[in-house]
């Protein structure tokens, strides 16, 4: 039995026709199911567990990267198969999973090609797409073996499913894309240097693949994981192998 969780932004008029067409295609494939709408204060884990008790086997997330991260970061431990129907802008994870944006995603969903995805774990909660530590004076210890520091502040971005785009400099027309999901988490460290009187400038990122990492700072620093912001003094990040069973496409990046 399929249960579809729609994000709140899909109520907008410009998405109505796409949603309607998708519902028709899903009915044709015989995989239409119950529709639930995500509100601002909905606890997705409680909702999904309720539906699993009622017999749901597949939970399908309908929305964008933010929807995907918000639901899976809380519900990674639920015993079900997850699907994803990307709709609208801000959909980078869909490309990594090999799922086209729009109506064609229904075809991928009907094929039920399943893969177990690795999930990041940070201080007692999971993150699926990306974790970002805002620029601060930090010290990063990798796999309890070596330590990475910078001269001044640095920003740390840990990618799981959401790829990280970065430009070498202003003249660089090609945006470099690094696709993660290779059994390790990738950390991108971007130090900031004060090159002129008007402020800081980002330097070229360092890239470190890892399985376990500890970030510490003398002062509390802001951490954003799958859209959820918090302030921490110490963050432990690990990779949880094969945590989430997901329906993916043939053109996936792993």
């Amino acid at each position: 039995m399929y249960v579809y969780i729609y994000d709140n932004f899909l109520r907008q008029k410009n998405f109505l026709s796409t949603i309607h067409s998708m519902e028709v295609v899903l009915t044709d494939y015989g995989i239409a199911g119950k529709i639930l709408r995500l509100q601002n204060y909905t606890d997705s884990k409680a909702v999904i567990e309720d539906e699993i008790k009622r017999g749901a086997k597949t939970i399908v997330i309908v929305g964008n990267d933010a929807t995907f991260g918000q639901i899976l970061s809380r519900s990674a431990t639920c015993d079900c198969t997850f699907g994803f129907l990307p709709v609208g802008p801000n959909n980078t994870i869909a490309e990594v999973l090999g799922i086209p944006v729009g109506i064609e995603a229904c075809t991928v969903l009907s094929r039920r090609r399943k893969e177990f995805l690795d999930v990041g774990w940070m201080n007692n909660r999971y993150f699926v797409s990306q974790l970002r530590v805002m620029p601060a004076k930090l010290e990063v210890i990798y796999d309890e073996r070596f330590k990475v520091t910078a001269a001044d502040k640095m920003e740390v971005i840990v990618c799981n499913l959401q790829p990280f785009f970065w430009k070498k400099d202003k003249k660089d027309t090609e945006q470099r894309v690094v696709h993660p999901q290779d059994g390790k988490l990738e950390a991108f460290i971007r130090p900031l240097t004060k090159s002129s009187w008007w402020g800081y400038k980002y330097e070229e990122p360092s890239i470190f693949p890892f399985e376990e990492m500890i970030i510490t700072g003398k002062e509390a620093f802001a951490v954003e994981a799958d859209g959820k912001l918090s302030k921490e003094v110490k963050v432990k990040i690990k990779l949880a192998h094969s945590k989430v069973e997901m329906i993916v496409g043939r053109d996936r990046k792993f």
Binding site: F146, V148, E204
Partner: protein, 158 residues
């Protein structure tokens, strides 16, 4: 003839390039470890893939693949790698499985154990070089400061 099924060969031919493209993309997308210009690494620095050092590393460095030390980078550590290209500064012993290339801007202080060695004109080297294939009587060639060697490359009789 009109209702003849399409030949299966076409489907196989269409599938093969996709598989090759996927494997090629996987090779291109293999993530290498990069140490940026103003980043300092301390400890046992190891990676399963290629390593590119543009900053400072102290402790030890290990990779089974390729190590690149760019100009301006400093390694104050013992190094073990499959192969390496050095354009920066290395203070420590180096054990390279296959080939080592010292570019003109490289400065190496330490012993080197390597199979194939290439030294460009302008490279500075202080240490002992050990290479396999030489008889026990002529085990090692002690080298002192090489300044502006005329010919590129060091060749030993195999």
């Amino acid at each position: 003839m009109i209702f003849q099924r399409p030949a299966p060969k076409n489907i196989e031919e269409n599938n093969e390039p996709e598989v090759n493209e996927l494997s090629r993309q996987h090779v291109q997308d293999e993530v290498e470890t990069v140490v940026g210009p103003s980043v300092t690494v301390e400890g046992d620095f190891a990676s399963e893939g290629n390593i590119v050092v543009k900053g400072t590393v102290s402790g030890s460095v290990f990779t089974s693949k390729h190590l690149t030390v760019e100009m301006g980078a400093k390694i104050m550590a013992n190094v073990r790698a499959g192969s390496a290209t050095i354009a920066g500064e290395v203070k420590g012993n180096m054990k390279i499985k296959e080939s080592l290339e010292l570019v003109s801007t490289s400065r190496v202080v330490g012993d080197i154990d390597v199979k194939n060695l290439k030294i460009e004109s302008g490279a500075l080297l202080y240490g002992k070089i050990t290479m396999p294939g030489i008889e026990s009587g002529e085990k090692s060639v002690k080298t002192k400061l090489f300044k502006k060697t005329e010919d590129a490359g060091v060749q030993f009789a195999s």
